[in-house]
C-alpha cells in the first residue's frame, strides 16, 4: 500500500471516529450549525480524497451524503431522524470500505443505490428536486484551509508493540536513574560544572518521556466516541429512550488495553439497554423519567484504570439469574436457597452463564461476561457488579497499567509517606480552615465540604500507623472523588509534593493487602506506596451500592428536593439557633405575658381558650411584656415553644447529622453556613405534650366526594378532627359544598353542628358565608373556631 493511500486511510479513520459523536449531537439538535458543518466537512473530504484514487463507490456515496447535507446547510431540507440514519448508514459503509482498502482487498462489489435512495427519502422541504441539484449547491470551498493542512501533515508508521514496550520501560528506568542521580548530586553539594548539563539532561528526559508515553497511550475518548452512536442505534432498535453521559474521556490508556475493553464495554452497554433499562411506559409507571440514563466514567488510580458503567434501569433480576443458573446445572436448587443476592449476581461471571439463548441482533453479538472477566483477569484486572432492584446496575472494570507514570500527591501520616493518584483528588483543605467543621458522629468522622457532610477517614487509623502528634481537627484533608462519584475525605498529617510518579506493581504478598495500587520511588530514593483509594473506600463502606448517588446531570435538583427538610428557624431564649420541622408549626403566636400560668410544675398558657403546655421559657423573669411562641401541633396535642426571635422558614438540603448528646435535638444541620439544631419533635411532645383523651377529638363530617377524601380529609385531620363516617350520627362540625347546600332545603346535622360551606370559585359573591375550597387558612380558621366554640361554649347552633 503506497504511502499516500495509507495516509488517506488513516485520515479517514480519524475523521470517522471524531464525526460519530458529532452526528448524534446533530440529531439531538438539528439546528446546530457547527455539528452539521463538521459532518459535512467529513463527507466532503472523503469525496475530495477519492478523486486521487480510483474508488468510484466511495466517491458516489460520499457525494450523495454531501449533497443531502449541503441541502440542509442551505436550509432546503430539515435534518430529520431518517436523514441522520441514512447519513450514518453511509458513514458505516465508508468505514467498511476503508477497512477493506487498508487490508489491501479489492473493494467489494456492491450496490449502494438503497443508501443513496435513503438519503433522498426524506423529501426536501421546499425543493422536491433539491438533492438532484446538489452539485451546484456545494459551496466552493467549505473546508477551512487550515484544517486540511493540519491533517495532511500527520504521518504514521507501524511499530511492533514489543519495541514500544522496551523503549517505554527503558525510559521509565532512566527517569528513576535520573532521580537517583539528582539525589546524589544534592548530597554532594553545588557543582556548577555538573549541574548545568544535568539540568539539560532532566529537561530532555522529560520531553522524551512525554513522547514515549504518548506513543503507547491513547485517550479513552477514542473508545468513548463510538458509544453515543451505539446507544442511539440500540435504543432505537429496542424502542427505548436512553441518554448517555461520558466522563473521563481524557484518561489515557494503553492502546492494546483500549482494544481489550472495547468489546466488554459494548457488551455491557448492550445488556444495559436490552435488559436493564425499561421501556418508557414502564419507567413512567415507576416514577422514573421517561428516558433511561447510562453513565460511563473512566478514572485512573495508580496502575489501574477503573471504568464504571452504570444504568438507572431495573437492576439485575436475581431470580432470573438464579433460575438460569439452576437450569443450566451451574448450581443446585439447594445451593441457590443458601445464596444471598450478592452471590447470585456474581453468577453472571461464571462460565456457561451466557446470554446465548437470547441471541438477537442486539445482545447476541457480545461475548459472555465470563470471557470478559477472564480476559481482564488474565492481564491483572477485574470486573465487579453491583445492582439495586429498581435503581440500576453498576459495572466496574479495572484495567491495569503494568507500568505507568502518573501524576500523584505525596502525603504523610505518622512519619510515613504515601502517594495518592492526582486523578482522585478533588481538593486539599488545609488544617487551619474553619470551613472544615470536623465532627464525629458515632464512630464516623465527618467534615463539611461544599456544604455537604462528607465521611472522613484518617490515614493513620486506616493503616494502623503510629499515633500522630497532630490532633484530628488539625489534619489536612484530602478530598477524594471515586469513579463511582462518591466523595470522602482522607485526613493526613501533611502534604509533601505533587509530581510525576513512576508506578510499579507491588509484590503479590503486598498487593494482597488490597490497600496498595503500586509503589514508586521518591527523589530521595525512598520507596513509597501508592494507596488504592477505591479499595480503601470500599472497605469502609464509602461506596454507594449502585448508581443512586452517582452525579447525574439534571437529576440533582430532583433528588435534593426529595431530601429537603422544610424547617422554621428561630433563636431560643438560651440564644441557641434552632429549627423545628415546618409541618409541626401551626402558627406563630404573640401573646401577653399574662396568658402564662407559671404556678404549676410545668408552665402553661391559655391560647384560644385552651390550656397548652409551654416549653422553652427563659429562666428567671420574663424578658418582655409580649412573648413570641411557635405553636406546635402533632395532630393531637399542642405545645407552645417560647422563642426569642423567629428567623425564617427555609428548605434545608444539607445532610442531617444525628446528634445524640441532647435528647431534645434530633440532628444538627447546616443552614447557610451556620449550624442549627433541629429539635426532636417526638421527644418534645413525648416529654411535654399532653395527650388528649382519644374521645376528645371533635368529629367533622365531609361531603361524599373523592376530592373531600383525598384533599380535605388530611387537612381536617391535621386541624384536630376525626372524620365522621357515613352511618355515624355524631358530628361537631360539617363541611358542605355550597352548591349541594343550596339544593337541600333543611340541612340536617347532628346536634345542630355548625356547617362550613365551601365554594368552587376563589372570589366570593357579595356577602357570601362560604369559604373557597382551597383557602387553607380560612378553612383551618373556621375549623378551629368551630372547635374552640365547642370547647368553650359546648357547641353552638
Amino acid at each position: 500500500m503506497d504511502e499516500l493511500l495509507a495516509e488517506f486511510v488513516a485520515e479517514t479513520r480519524e475523521m470517522l471516529e471524531a464525526s460519530e459523536g458529532e452526528i448524534i449531537a446533530w440529531e439531538a439538535d438539528p439546528s446546530d450549525r457547527a455539528r452539521l458543518d463538521a459532518i459535512f466537512r467529513f463527507v466532503h473530504t472523503v469525496k475530495g480524497n477519492c478523486g486521487f484514487f480510483d474508488f468510484p463507490r466511495l466517491a458516489a456515496l460520499s457525494h450523495a451524503a454531501e449533497d443531502a447535507l449541503a441541502d440542509c446547510r442551505a436550509g432546503k431540507r430539515e435534518a430529520d431522524a431518517a436523514l441522520v440514519t441514512a447519513v450514518l448508514a453511509v458513514i458505516d459503509t465508508i468505514s467498511q470500505m476503508i477497512d477493506a482498502i487498508e487490508a489491501g482487498e479489492e473493494l467489494p462489489e456492491g450496490d449502494d443505490t438503497h443508501l443513496v435512495a435513503a438519503l433522498a427519502l426524506s423529501a426536501p422541504t421546499s425543493h422536491p428536486d433539491g438533492h438532484d441539484k446538489g452539485e451546484e449547491s456545494v459551496p466552493e470551498d467549505p473546508i477551512p484551509p487550515s484544517r486540511t493542512a493540519s491533517i495532511a501533515t500527520q504521518r504514521s508508521i507501524r511499530l511492533p508493540v514489543d519495541l514500544l514496550d522496551r523503549v517505554m520501560s527503558g525510559v521509565s528506568d532512566m527517569v528513576l536513574a535520573r532521580n537517583d542521580l539528582a539525589h546524589r548530586l544534592r548530597e554532594a553539594g553545588n557543582q556548577p560544572t555538573i549541574d548545568g548539563p544535568f539540568e539539560r539532561l532532566t529537561s530532555i528526559l522529560s520531553d522524551v518521556r512525554d513522547a514515549i508515553t504518548r506513543m503507547r497511550m491513547q485517550r479513552i475518548e477514542t473508545l468513548f466516541n463510538a458509544l453515543p452512536r451505539l446507544v442511539r442505534d440500540l435504543s432505537g432498535e429496542l424502542g427505548k429512550q436512553v441518554t448517555v453521559d461520558l466522563a473521563g474521556g481524557d484518561v489515557e490508556l494503553d492502546r492494546e488495553m483500549i482494544e481489550m475493553i472495547r468489546d466488554p464495554i459494548t457488551h455491557i452497554i448492550r445488556n444495559a439497554i436490552d435488559h436493564g433499562i425499561e421501556s418508557p411506559a414502564e419507567r413512567v409507571e415507576q416514577g422514573k423519567r421517561e428516558s433511561g440514563h447510562i453513565t460511563i466514567a473512566a478514572r485512573q488510580s495508580g496502575n489501574t484504570i477503573s471504568i464504571v458503567i452504570g444504568d438507572d434501569g431495573a437492576g439485575l433480576n436475581e431470580d432470573r439469574i438464579a433460575k438460569k443458573a439452576v437450569s443450566s446445572g451451574m448450581i443446585t436448587a439447594s445451593q441457590r436457597a443458601n445464596m444471598d443476592r450478592e452471590a447470585i449476581l456474581q453468577l453472571i461471571f461464571r462460565p456457561g452463564f451466557s446470554t446465548a439463548e437470547e441471541v438477537s441482533t442486539v445482545s447476541g453479538r457480545g461475548v459472555g461476561l465470563d470471557v470478559v472477566r477472564e480476559n481482564l483477569e488474565r492481564v491483572g484486572g477485574g470486573i465487579k457488579v453491583s445492582s439495586t432492584p429498581g435503581i440500576g446496575t453498576l459495572f466496574t472494570l479495572q484495567v491495569p497499567l503494568t507500568l505507568s507514570i502518573i501524576a500523584g500527591l505525596t502525603i504523610e501520616s505518622g512519619d510515613q509517606r504515601f502517594a495518592v493518584p492526582q486523578s482522585y483528588i478533588e481538593e486539599i483543605i488545609h488544617a487551619s480552615s474553619n470551613a472544615l467543621d470536623f465532627t464525629r458522629v458515632g464512630e464516623r468522622s465527618l467534615v463539611t465540604f461544599r456544604g455537604k457532610r462528607v465521611p472522613c477517614l484518617m490515614l493513620g487509623d486506616v493503616l494502623g500507623l503510629a499515633e500522630s502528634e497532630i490532633s484530628e481537627r488539625e489534619r489536612t484533608m484530602v478530598m477524594l472523588r471515586l469513579a463511582s462519584g462518591d466523595l470522602f475525605a482522607l485526613g493526613v498529617d501533611r502534604i509533601h509534593s505533587h509530581g510525576d510518579l513512576v508506578v510499579k506493581p507491588v509484590a503479590p504478598i503486598v498487593a494482597k493487602s488490597g490497600l496498595y495500587a503500586g509503589s514508586t520511588l521518591l527523589d530521595d530514593g525512598k520507596p513509597v506506596l501508592l494507596l488504592d483509594v477505591t479499595e480503601m473506600a470500599s472497605r469502609h463502606d464509602l461506596i454507594s451500592p449502585a448508581q443512586a448517588q452517582a452525579p447525574i446531570a439534571g437529576e440533582e435538583s430532583d433528588t435534593t428536593n426529595v431530601n429537603a427538610v422544610r424547617v422554621m428557624l428561630f433563636t431560643g431564649h438560651d440564644g441557641r439557633r434552632c429549627a423545628v420541622r415546618l409541618e409541626l408549626v401551626r402558627r406563630i403566636e404573640t401573646a401577653a405575658a399574662s396568658v402564662l400560668d407559671l404556678s404549676g410544675a410545668k408552665p402553661r398558657a391559655v391560647i384560644d381558650g385552651a390550656i397548652v403546655p409551654v416549653v422553652g421559657l427563659p429562666e428567671g423573669p420574663l424578658p418582655a411584656e409580649k412573648l413570641r411562641f411557635l405553636r406546635l401541633f402533632d395532630g393531637a396535642s399542642e405545645l407552645l415553644l417560647a422563642v426569642r426571635e423567629i428567623d425564617d422558614a427555609v428548605e434545608c438540603y444539607n445532610t442531617l447529622q444525628p446528634a445524640s448528646d441532647d435528647p431534645m435535638v434530633e440532628a444538627i444541620t447546616l443552614v447557610g453556613d451556620r449550624p442549627v439544631a433541629l429539635l426532636d419533635a417526638h421527644a418534645l411532645f413525648a416529654k411535654h405534650g399532653e395527650a388528649p383523651e382519644a374521645t376528645n377529638l371533635p368529629w367533622c363530617r365531609l361531603p361524599d366526594s373523592e376530592w373531600a377524601r383525598s384533599f380535605l380529609a388530611p387537612l381536617v385531620r391535621s386541624a384536630g378532627y376525626e372524620i365522621a363516617n357515613g352511618t355515624d350520627r355524631r358530628e361537631d362540625v360539617a363541611i358542605w359544598f355550597d352548591h349541594e347546600f343550596q339544593k337541600v332545603d333543611e340541612p340536617v346535622t347532628a346536634g345542630d353542628a355548625p356547617i362550613i360551606r365551601l365554594r368552587d370559585i376563589p372570589d366570593a359573591p357579595e356577602g357570601a358565608d362560604t369559604i373557597y375550597r382551597y383557602d387553607r387558612e380560612a378553612l383551618l380558621a373556621a375549623l378551629t373556631e368551630a372547635r374552640s366554640g365547642r370547647a368553650v361554649a359546648g357547641g353552638r347552633t
Partner: protein
C-alpha cells in the same frame, strides 16, 4: 551437579540458595514499613531504580524473628517478575553443592520441611536448600492461626 550455592544462616540453621536464583547481595538501606501486610513482610527498600520487597525469612518460615540478629546485607532474588530482598541471620559465602538434594529419615521438622527442597551436602557441610516461591508466600494460614 556442582551447583553454586549462596550460603546463609536462617534462624541459626545453615541454609542454601541456588546462586542462579540470587541476583545480588546488597547492603540493606532504610526499609519503609508496609502497614497491613503479614509480619514477615519487613517493608520495602530501593535498589537503584527498583523497589524490593523485604522479607524476613525467619518469620516467613514461621519462626519468631526477635531472638536472631540480622545481617546488614540482604539476598536479592527475583521470583515471578518481582524482586525481593531476603533478610537472614548472616550471609556466609558462595560454595558448591556436592550432591543431589535428598531427605533424611525423620524429616527436618514441619516448618523447615515446608520451605525446603531438601538437604544438600556442600563443601562446608550439609544445608537446607530453600524453595524460594514457597518461602516468600509465608507461613500457611493454618499455622498463623495456630
Amino acid at each position: 551437579m556442582n551447583e553454586l550455592l549462596v550460603m546463609a544462616t536462617i534462624a541459626g540453621r545453615r541454609c542454601a540458595f541456588r546462586a542462579d536464583d540470587v541476583q545480588s547481595v546488597i547492603d540493606l538501606g532504610s526499609v519503609t514499613p508496609v502497614p497491613h501486610t503479614p509480619d514477615f513482610v519487613a517493608g520495602m527498600t530501593a535498589l537503584r531504580s527498583q523497589t524490593l520487597t523485604v522479607i524476613d525469612t525467619r518469620r516467613a518460615i514461621g519462626l519468631g524473628s526477635s531472638e536472631w540478629t540480622s545481617d546488614h546485607r540482604a539476598v536479592v532474588v527475583l521470583i515471578a517478575g518481582f524482586s525481593y530482598a531476603l533478610l537472614v541471620d548472616e550471609i556466609e559465602d558462595v560454595t558448591t553443592g556436592l550432591a543431589q538434594t535428598g531427605t533424611i529419615p525423620g524429616g527436618f521438622g514441619a516448618q523447615w520441611a515446608r520451605v525446603a527442597t531438601g538437604m544438600i551436602e556442600t563443601r562446608t557441610g550439609p544445608a537446607l536448600l530453600i524453595d524460594l516461591p514457597i518461602l516468600i508466600a509465608g507461613p500457611d494460614r493454618s499455622e498463623v492461626a495456630a
